[in-house]
């Protein structure tokens, strides 16, 4: 799949699951928004049972053996598998957005923040815009 068609698919009603199989270091430097770090080893990977499309990001110069191993690993779980043509480099070259993965979630009770009480509490002044 070309980067452009992957980008369109991502905003369609049936978006693909994106797996980045280039390994942790490259994943951390930047990936397709929403991609999961799948590690580099097809054998060590397990997805939830799913359906629908799945797009793989492979490292530059991935061998057809590697491609086949990933396909064989994933297809029993019900996904329709494609590969991002040209890899992550082509995605960047197409000027598409890049995610620098970082964790940004809150564990309840772990921060000094208060959960709001109301459905729509406001601070005055409201309507402050950037």
């Amino acid at each position: 799949m070309s980067p452009d068609s992957v980008a369109d698919a991502l905003v369609s009603p049936a978006p693909p699951l994106i797996l980045d199989a280039r390994g942790r270091d490259q994943y951390a430097l930047g990936t397709v928004p929403g991609a999961i770090n799948a590690g580099r080893e097809p054998k060590g990977f397990l997805p939830s049972t799913g359906s629908g499309p799945l797009v793989l990001i492979l490292k530059k110069g991935a061998t057809s053996y590697l491609k086949r191993s990933w396909s064989e690993r994933l297809s029993p779980y019900g996904y329709k598998i494609s590969i991002l043509n040209g890899g992550f480099e082509a995605w960047q070259a197409a000027g598409l957005p890049v995610e620098i993965p970082a964790s940004g979630h809150i564990k309840p009770g772990s921060t000094p923040f208060i959960i709001p009480r109301g459905l729509c509490e406001i601070n005055s002044p409201a309507q402050v815009r950037e």
């Binding site: 980008a7 369109d8 991502l10 905003v11 009603p13 978006p15 699951l17 797996l19 942790r24 928004p33 929403g34 999961i36 770090n37 799948a38 590690g39 080893e41 054998k43 060590g44 990977f45 397990l46 997805p47 939830s48 049972t49 799913g50 598409l96 957005p97 995610e99 993965p101 964790s103 940004g104 979630h105 809150i106 564990k107 309840p108 921060t111 000094p112 923040f113 208060i114 959960i115 709001p116 009480r117 109301g118 459905l119 729509c120 509490e121 406001i122 601070n123 005055s124 002044p125 409201a126 309507q127 402050v128 815009r129 950037e130």
Partner: protein, 273 residues
Amino acid sequence: MRWLIGLILLLTAFPALADEDCSECHIEIQRHFAATAMAVAARSDDFKREWGEAKQNPECLSCHAPSQAAGVVCADCHGNGPHPYARLKVPDVCARCHDAPGESTVRRHKSSLAAQRNLNCLSCHVKLGGGTHAIMGATNTEFLSMAARLHLALRQENGQQILVAAVRPRTGHALPGGTTGRSVWLIVRGLGGDKSERWRETRRFGWLKGPDGAWEEATLAPDIGVNLELPWPGRDGVQVIEAELVYRFRPGPLEEPDPRQVTISKAQMTLRQ
């Protein structure tokens, strides 16, 4: 100063048309918009209760009923006519009420993949075949169910197993969108062979209030969402992982009942023995 007097004269000479005046000709549009939550934003039970608690703060009406009507009316978006009306730009026209402290919908939309692929607020929020004004939101369960997908994955890293619970918002803005009153909860559970729960991880996404009273956004970023990584998921004899993503019309703790809450996505995985 003179232009201001001129403007005032102009406005009094052509008094702002009341809503009913539009419906005479724009019958369909009027009918569609009247059925939206926005059209009754200052009349809903939730609003009346909370507005009462806020001592009827007039600032609330600057979004909920700027023209002192039952809610948002034609003039609040189109301005006080007469024809021809200027063409409206989406999403800029929405920013007046959908961008504020505790509301970032328009700002976050602008950085989304959806906006880059030329979708706007109306591409998602207008009912199919509803023209331009049949705007729906989270209270429409079918619409809400497309808000995000949840996936589980297990990878091997340096001999260690890592479980990833991945949430992918498809909202074209942060999830939950809108104001501080919504929340989304990710619950991941490890189950033993007998289906009993061995461990549980819970995360909340939504708005938070900092110690200084300022709003802090802890929502899920559009497109990116979150990858919650949990090492060693098979501990304590866990064989099955179950995860769900729950959308709540309440900001507070999960224990607080919310009759309208909806599970928007689920995922399951059997670990190998």
